[in-house]
Amino acid sequence: MESHLASNGIVAALFLAAGVTVWMVRRSRLWSSAFVSLWRRRRFALLVTGVYVAVALLDSVAWVGGDSLAVDTVARHEARSVIDRVFGGNQEKSYSAPFAEAEFYGGGDLRYPGRHWLGTDMIGRDIFYLTLKGARVALLIGGLTSLIAIPLALLFGISAGYFGGRIDDVVFFLMTTLASMPGLLLLIALIMVMGKSTLAVCVALAVTGWVGFCRVSRGETLKLRELEFVSAARSLGVSEFQIVMRHILPNLMHLVIITFVLMFSGLVLSEAILSWLGIGVDGSWGQMIDQARNELSRDPIVWWNIAASGTALFGLILAVNFVGDALRDVLDPRTIEDER
């Protein structure tokens, strides 16, 4: 019942983290010049991503009560987010087209004629509202999964690359085993075992998704550990853990950021595929597309549901991919050299 408090807490933590990041970026010459260059290259994509994030955050801040008597009793006792309060609560009976004044089939009266900018779905929910709600789910899937997968990949990758020997063998065996299994089947099996929930989907995606980055971080660590400053630290008697934390990890940071951004869009897409198989996350765009699957073969056609969710999904992924590409250019040492 207290999930909305946790959600609020996470939003607060995110703001804090964002503040710290901004402060640190401004302090470091390298990072702030990277950001400036990124902004110069992909201003629009950054703004679009920002809008998605803003919507998701607005949907994550929720509280109980404090609004009009117009909504039903259940809603009054539920934690409702800013998005719910502003855009929710305009339910119809069934399909209506965007801006329509009457129902799509049968032409019955609407409760809120002309107010559904993107129409309504089969049971009369406003598509615009549902599309906005999908942003939070998409970011949650992308964010949470990366949060599980990237540390996992770093842990295995660095230990394999830095210590080598047996550890390397074990990690490599694990990676090849996972990589040789059909990803989608493994995903389905994991979700079946863990039950269907947002967390289960995220964990399943993370378990199948960490291998790629693990390989990269292992390779990079292999290279880094032979460099002079690492040898110097080692001969000065710095402990292995200290070396990893002080010299290896910071030098992997740009890879982490690039991977995070690129992985993110892949994850959101994977979820859409899972939804299509009927094991996705409740309220995601993938699920909306799945629900709308049969609508395209209706006659007359109902297009707005799939169009809205598809466009929202497409927009987010395109923007994030642009940002990711730009980030790669900006953070990759070789391209930085070129620019100067």
């Binding site: 039903d72 009793t73 259940v74 809603a75 006792h77 539920e78 339910q91 009976k93 069934s94 089939y105 049968g106 779905d121 089969m122 049971i123 079946m192 039950g195 269907k196 939804s275 009927g278 094991i279 409740d282 699920q287 799945d290 629900q291 699957r293 049969n294 073969s297 209706r298 006659d299 007359p300």
Partner: protein, 678 residues
Amino acid sequence: MTLMSTCSAARLLGLTSIWALAWVACNNNPYPPTEAGEKVLYSSFREAPRSLDPAVAYDTGAHAITGSVYDTLLEYHYLKRPYELIPGLATDLPTQRPGQAGYTVYGFSLRPGMVYENDPAFSLGMPGRMTREIVSADVAFELCRLADPAVNSPVVEPFSNIQGFQEFGQALTQRREEDLAFSNLPVHEQYAALGGIEGVKSVGDHGLEVSVRSDYPQIQYWFAMPFTSPVPWEAIAFYDGEEGRPRFADHPIASGPYRLQHYDRQSRMVLEANPNWYGAVHPEWAAPGAVYPSQGAPGDLEAGLLAPEWAGKPLPFIDRVEFRREKEAIPYFNKFLQGYYDAAGVIKESFDQVIDEGGLSADMEEMGIRLEKGVEPTIFYIGFNLDDDTVGRPGGERARRLRQAMSLVIDSEEYTRIFTNGRGIPAQSPLPPGLFGYDEAYANPYRSVDLERARELMVEADYPQGIDPNTGKPLTLSFDTYDTSAQGLLQYRFFTDAWRQLGIDVKVEATNYNQFQEKVRNGAYQIFMWGWVADYPDPENFLFLLWSDLARSKSGGPNTANFMNDRFDDLYLSMKSRPNGAEREAEIKEMREILEVERPWIELFHREDYALFQGWLENVKPFGMSFPMTKYRDLDPAERTSLRKDWNRPVVWPIWVGLVLLIALIVPGVMTFMRERQ
């Protein structure tokens, strides 16, 4: 060398494809042209039936074959409603006399002189013999097969009302375990060694007496289903699936109006009129099951169902039935529109193209296609688990008011409109139309939408505005389901949204089937949605779903709502064995009143079947049971041929346009080539 051969192969391929294209362009008829003038019914199947064994086959797909191939002792009247039984293989409806205490003996007598279809299996009894007479021992043999646990029949439960039925099955299992020599005998010898089922006796060659518990007169309906068809022991002994012989499940030997002539599970099944059928051999009998009825239900005469060309004429009219495999709905429907199938269901994808405000669209009407709507003997309902503390019996009067309130906000009409394209009629009680005890005038006061009254009831139930006084928060219930599809979730949303209006927060708990089953086993469920399709048209077959002896928590029975009401049970037991009449009607009415107030179910709707028939198909009356009524149908092949020609005029202009475009593409190339050569 290799290059050469590839070239010629490509040329060959190109040539063949051009020829194939030319051939297809001329004609899209999937059937041989020689069939055009024949009375062949074209039908389809999606998946081949798993088994054609009459003791096992229990789905619509299999019944399409077994229902035509196997004849039964009794049958349903083709036209009369409410459904009525007529004699089939039997000379008359069964006689009834009291037997041992609590049992009634049903006496059937088979017509003498009926034979099976020709089959080499009959040489087992006498070398060179191709067929033999149908005797009552064959029916007894089939009943033994139903009881045989090795056959694994899905309908053991209703037949357990036959005296000694279960004991026979147990004795059989026991003997087989103890005695290896016994278990190696052919099954008919095993059955004979045990003396058959105690309550089933054949009297002479043609008499059969079945002793059934007196409170189950519905057994008669089971004698109108292929489960009780006569099966020759030779068929089981011969078709054992060994040494290249097919299994009996794939090779029926029967006596019905049609015989299975061709059976290819991947693509094609063909039925042809059985020359050995008693209707064909002995037209002078004019047996009720072998002639078209001359009387029907009101309205049949006007509908042309009793026209003189058919009334009283010997069956069957159609000589052959072709089933072609169609895996996808849309191509199947398109072939129907081209005239290559004679009947079709209305598929969801093109519903609005076909149906216009409950009737046929103008386009379809013009093609002469007919729409037949029939309410199936079904009920879909939301049930409450009455063992539950909040919504069930322990909650007392409060829970009853809650159930009443929840029932008052579910709009069945809206539900069918949104989710089933309006196919379904709102249910007022468990009994669908066409059944004895259905009352068209009856309107359940708790099954119309009345939000005001529902809110009052919530106050009376001490949940004012849905607030549970114990917690100060809205009442939270769970709706348990195993349907996790996106479409399914929308359906449940529809219900939970309705209940939200009362301030009740119903959470949908969608789990996989195993978890759901476990919840049901443990009684850990509150609200569920379920459907029931009747096996036979008797009110008992619906009301037993609420009989306390069959409660899920008591006996694992189908009464998932765990409804237990003494008065209802008394009425049920008394109604069950009573013949249709005023007394039975009064009892059903009282049961209905109990359900009305107690609300173990929120009755949603009775499903309606929309079927499309081509204009040339005649004598079509929708039949709610899942048996094919092919032998009563007729068709006009000449009209079909001419209409098919009309509907399938080749469209030639795209070929010319394509040709012109192709030339337009090639000419500049050739010109350039010529210029460069110069």
